[in-house]
């Protein structure tokens, strides 16, 4: 059922009056500082508002309702307890500048989270402040730069990035004032070592990698890569998006990485929330510890406290007004306590089992793998190049047809170097039957592609809207409602 915009439900004079105080009587603010017309906020009743947003929510696919094998995103179950415990009144009501007397419960959690993340990654120290993966990357590259600068090595501004890397890696390098050198991938999905050797030099600040890579395979010569980069004077940055694949099996610190960010909203199962909030906590080897972003939590004699700037003069500084996404960190903390040491290892084991199983089942079902000779990590790539050629139905069409089957689509067209790419990540929390169901759906779609590809071009059919016109969206930009800019007469407000 369609859901009108909330502004279309608005009626002058309507209001959810229980939600706000009376206006204060006196107003001593001079007129020239005041706004002259009220903001365009909807005037709706509480019922209509609740109904509107409840109905909107039902238009989403989500983990709680659908299998969501979005590669590189680790869409696993978000335990509800993580939410309810992080939202206990004591936590939710704590002001970021609350005095230490009113903070020991929260700080204890943060301190222990730092410790656990150090253990998990094999790094010497952790800062929890970055607010998403990309900000973790920024913290990491900034630390690498600060490290070189602090040693007086001012020319190291080149960052090496494999061509399969996530877009945030090159974008981050640029944001840190570095230049990006792209590295090619070889046919097996590993970094091209010859190219790497060519690329490194006295300007090399470092390399940004994730291992397993975004191609879903484990970079087998990681120690060689580490040696090459380190010998050239660069540092190694680990993009933690793929940590789910290796928990307890191999640690970035042990692979030679100097700095890592973790996507707590992936591996540590804090929710994605329809696009955040995330958390991109960073871990570092000892030589980078002085540069960690602040704040960090310390413990003295069983008392917890913030480490302040005076103690860390080399810190790259502060990346958020307070301490980052504290509520997300609490969720990750609860998650880790629920899993414990053994549970954290099982994550990688079953994520890998599920990915490899789904991979072989899809191969049996007639799909081509991008790297057929490799193990899947926690994810893998199917390429629909052959099918697209034979039937005209491409990766996008498969993705949309999956929505009609009741599955969220895998990641499409990323990494860019694989044509007609589906990057598929089932995660450890999905059952065999769910995976089998997905394989059957893929088979049905494949059969449909051969029978009548044009039908797939029309997919999805069962979603609240059919396939959307992205080109129109960009050309006839409509990003802000005004009664006049409605593309067509809005349909009669229905309930």
């Amino acid at each position: 059922m369609d859901e009108a915009l909330i502004f279309e439900r608005s009626r002058p004079g309507r209001a959810a009056t229980s939600q706000f105080p009376e206006s204060a009587q006196s107003n001593d603010i001079p007129a020239e500082l005041l706004r002259t017309s009220p903001p365009l906020l909807p005037q709706t009743s509480e019922l209509d508002t609740v109904r509107h947003f409840t109905r909107l929510s039902q238009k989403n696919f989500s983990i709680d309702t659908h299998f969501y094998p979005l590669g590189s995103c680790t869409m696993k179950y978000n335990p509800r307890a993580c939410n309810s415990l992080a939202m206990l009144p004591g936590f939710v009501g704590r002001h970021p500048l609350a005095p230490a007397t009113r903070s020991q419960g929260f700080l204890a959690c943060m301190y222990e989270l730092q410790e656990m993340l150090q253990e998990v990654t094999g790094m010497a120290a952790v800062s929890l402040t970055p607010m998403a993966g990309a900000q973790g990357e920024l913290a990491g590259v900034a630390m690498i730069r600060a490290y070189h600068v602090n040693r007086g090595d001012l020319v190291r501004t080149e960052v090496l990035v494999p061509d399969a890397a996530h877009g945030t890696n090159p974008a981050t390098a640029t944001m840190c004032g570095c230049t990006v050198k792209e590295l090619p991938t070889d046919a097996q999905g590993d970094v091209d070592l010859a190219a790497l050797r060519n690329a490194v030099g006295p300007q090399t600040a470092g390399i940004m990698l994730t291992n397993p890579s975004t191609l879903g395979v484990f970079e087998r010569r990681i120690d060689e890569i580490a040696a090459i980069v380190h010998e050239a004077g660069g540092l190694l940055y680990y993009d933690g998006a793929n940590l789910n694949a290796i928990l307890g099996k191999v640690r970035p610190g042990d692979m030679g990485f100097d700095v890592i960010h973790m996507n707590l909203h992936k591996t540590f199962s804090t929710p994605h929330g329809g696009g955040g909030p995330g958390s991109g906590a960073v871990g570092v080897a000892p030589r980078l510890e002085p540069f960690l972003p602040l704040p960090v939590v310390a413990r003295d004699d069983g008392h917890y406290r913030w480490v302040d700037a005076d103690e860390r003069p080399l810190s790259i500084g502060r990346l958020s007004a307070f301490m980052g996404n504290a509520g997300v960190l609490l969720r990750a903390y609860v998650y880790m306590r629920l899993l414990g040491a053994a549970g954290m290892e099982r994550v990688a084991e079953y994520a890998t089992l599920n990915a490899n199983y789904l991979m072989v089942e899809l191969r049996k079902a007639g799909f081509d793998l991008a790297f057929p000779d490799r193990r899947a990590s926690h994810e893998f790539i199917v390429t629909l190049k052959r099918q697209a050629k034979a039937t005209g139905a491409n990766a996008m069409d498969f993705a949309k047809a999956l929505l009609d089957e009741g599955y969220h689509a895998p990641t499409t067209y990323f990494p860019l170097l694989v044509p007609e790419c589906l990057l598929i990540e089932p995660t450890e929390t999905e059952s065999k039957e769910t995976i089998d169901g997905f394989v059957q759906a893929m088979q049905r779609i494949l059969a449909q592609a051969h029978e009548d590809a044009s039908h797939l071009k029309g997919a999805p059919y069962s979603t609240p809207v059919r396939r959307l016109d992205d080109v129109r969206a960009a050309r006839q930009l409509d990003v802000c409602y005004a009664p006049a800019n409605t593309p067509e007469a809005p349909e009669a407000a229905e309930l």
Partner: protein
């Protein structure tokens, strides 16, 4: 096994299908020398019951008390409906809406959010959120530097009356790109950023001027005057504003004769709990002409195959996943769920509600200051008109006063000495609509007694 559904049988069947004997075999591409053997330093799993008890005990340690803390994070009433809906699984556990057809809920929320924020700020377009207020200001600065073609400098006029942590964050994020923040002093009498201070600065090529409204001391700036001054010099104007205040105050888009260019700020007051400082969200809006310089996601309205309205992410060519090293920002995951909460909050409050909240915040501060008038050893530090925060100069060391009130269950505010040595005995206090007359009286009495008691 917590959160892992595999039965022994499943596992055997799956391994057989794969053609390996054990899960261990699936990790055979990892060089043996690198392998670790589990975690020794992580405690064993607890059940949900056990973790609940632990967390309840920890949360109970951290009592908020009667708090007059502000300084960038504000205690407001949040309607129960906001988080009951926001934490619905369909919002809570969805990803960024890449598959638009499967994400119309989230996308329509973003579109509605963009509309509300644009209007609140008096500007044309808003993005779908940034991390928080401080990083939003950093992105606004970067955006201004990119957008200001008339300026060749990478210098920004940054008032000292901007939140000190915001200034730290902007510096941390932008200095590697050679951006320099030129501090603009505040007037010690008014607490405002006066034109005279700007005119006293020697350099004359600046990419942007940041105007806080209200500023960190709670004082209302002469946004019109500052904007006109900057506009005349081809300096872009960035408003860094409190969103609650915007319900009452002239929005950045309408400042001066021609309006500011960019506005940003901390979205927390719009329905997001204090929560130890995060997750919050940064908002950012700008004039239409600057939209392609905007960082972050944007949702747009379009049509589907059948000509029906729908929503999708748009202008993605600005973003890292398309433009990579040339993107407007590296931001990817933003603060979507907080935006959902804020959109519901703004819908429930509506124009009248948000205005009333703002006027009560302000009115409560007025009442508090009135009560304190004449109290021995307590005086407003500045003459400038405050919104809902004020700096009080005390006749006793702030830390002593804070400790004494803390013992009575009152969190009096933050001392400014650490950030502003010149404001050593100064306390920043905040009143929101949550404070009753009794609260104000209790606070005023306790504060008065504590300051007096120091003598």
């Amino acid at each position: 096994m917590p959160y892992i559904p595999h039965t022994e049988d499943d596992q055997q069947q799956m391994l057989k299908a794969i053609g390996v004997d054990s899960i261990e075999a699936l990790f055979d591409e990892i060089p043996a020398a690198l392998r670790c053997d589990g975690f020794s330093n992580i405690p064993a799993a607890l059940t949900e019951m056990q973790v609940s008890r632990l967390m309840n005990e920890r949360a109970a340690q951290d009592q908020a008390g009667l708090s007059f803390l502000g300084a960038g994070a504000y205690e407001h009433h949040i309607p129960a409906a906001v988080w009951e809906i926001t934490t619905r699984g369909e919002f809570y556990s969805a990803y960024t809406p890449y598959q638009a057809e499967a994400s119309q809920g989230t996308l329509q929320v973003i579109y509605e959010y963009q509309t509300m924020i644009s209007s609140l700020l008096g500007l044309d377009v808003s993005n779908a959120s940034l991390y928080d207020g401080a990083t939003a200001l950093a992105e606004a600065v970067l955006m201004a530097v990119r957008a200001n073609r008339r300026s060749r400098s990478r210098r920004i006029l940054m008032p000292r009356a901007v939140h000190p942590y915001y200034r730290d964050v902007v510096h941390a994020i932008t200095h590697t790109q050679g951006i320099h923040l030129t501090e603009v002093p505040f007037d010690p009498a008014t607490g405002r950023t006066e034109l005279t201070a700007l005119e006293a600065i020697e350099d004359d090529d600046f990419a942007a001027l940041v105007i806080p409204q209200p500023n960190f001391f709670g004082v209302l700036e002469d946004a019109d005057g500052l904007t006109d001054w900057a506009r005349k010099r081809d300096i872009l104007v960035i408003g860094a504003v409190n969103p609650t205040a915007m319900a009452l105050l002239k929005p950045p888009g309408e400042w001066g004769a021609e309006g500011g260019h960019i506005a940003c700020g901390e979205g927390q007051p719009l329905g997001v709990p204090l929560s130890s400082g995060g997750p919050y969200f940064g908002f950012l809006a700008c004039q239409q002409a600057l939209v392609r310089q905007m960082p972050g996601r944007i949702a747009g309205r379009t049509l589907d195959l059948e000509g029906k309205q729908g929503f999708t992410l748009t202008l993605q060519a600005r973003e890292q996943h398309i433009r990579r090293s040339k993107a407007t920002s590296n931001i990817c995951t933003n603060q979507g769920l907080m935006v959902t909460a804020a959109t519901i909050y703004m819908s429930l409050l509506g124009p009248t509600g948000l205005t009333n909240v703002a006027s009560q915040c302000h009115g409560n501060l007025r009442r508090l200051l009135d009560r304190l008038e004449g109290a021995a050893g307590i005086a407003p530090a500045f003459r400038g008109l405050p919104f809902h925060e004020a700096v009080l100069k005390l006749d006793r060391p702030v830390s002593e006063v804070l400790a004494e009130l803390d013992a009575q269950g009152i969190v009096a505010g933050v001392g400014l000495g650490e950030w502003y040595p010149e404001l050593d005995r100064c306390l920043l206090v905040c009143t929101t609509e949550t404070k009753t007359d009794d609260d104000l009286a209790r606070f005023a009495d306790a504060l008065g007694a504590a300051v007096k008691g120091g003598h």
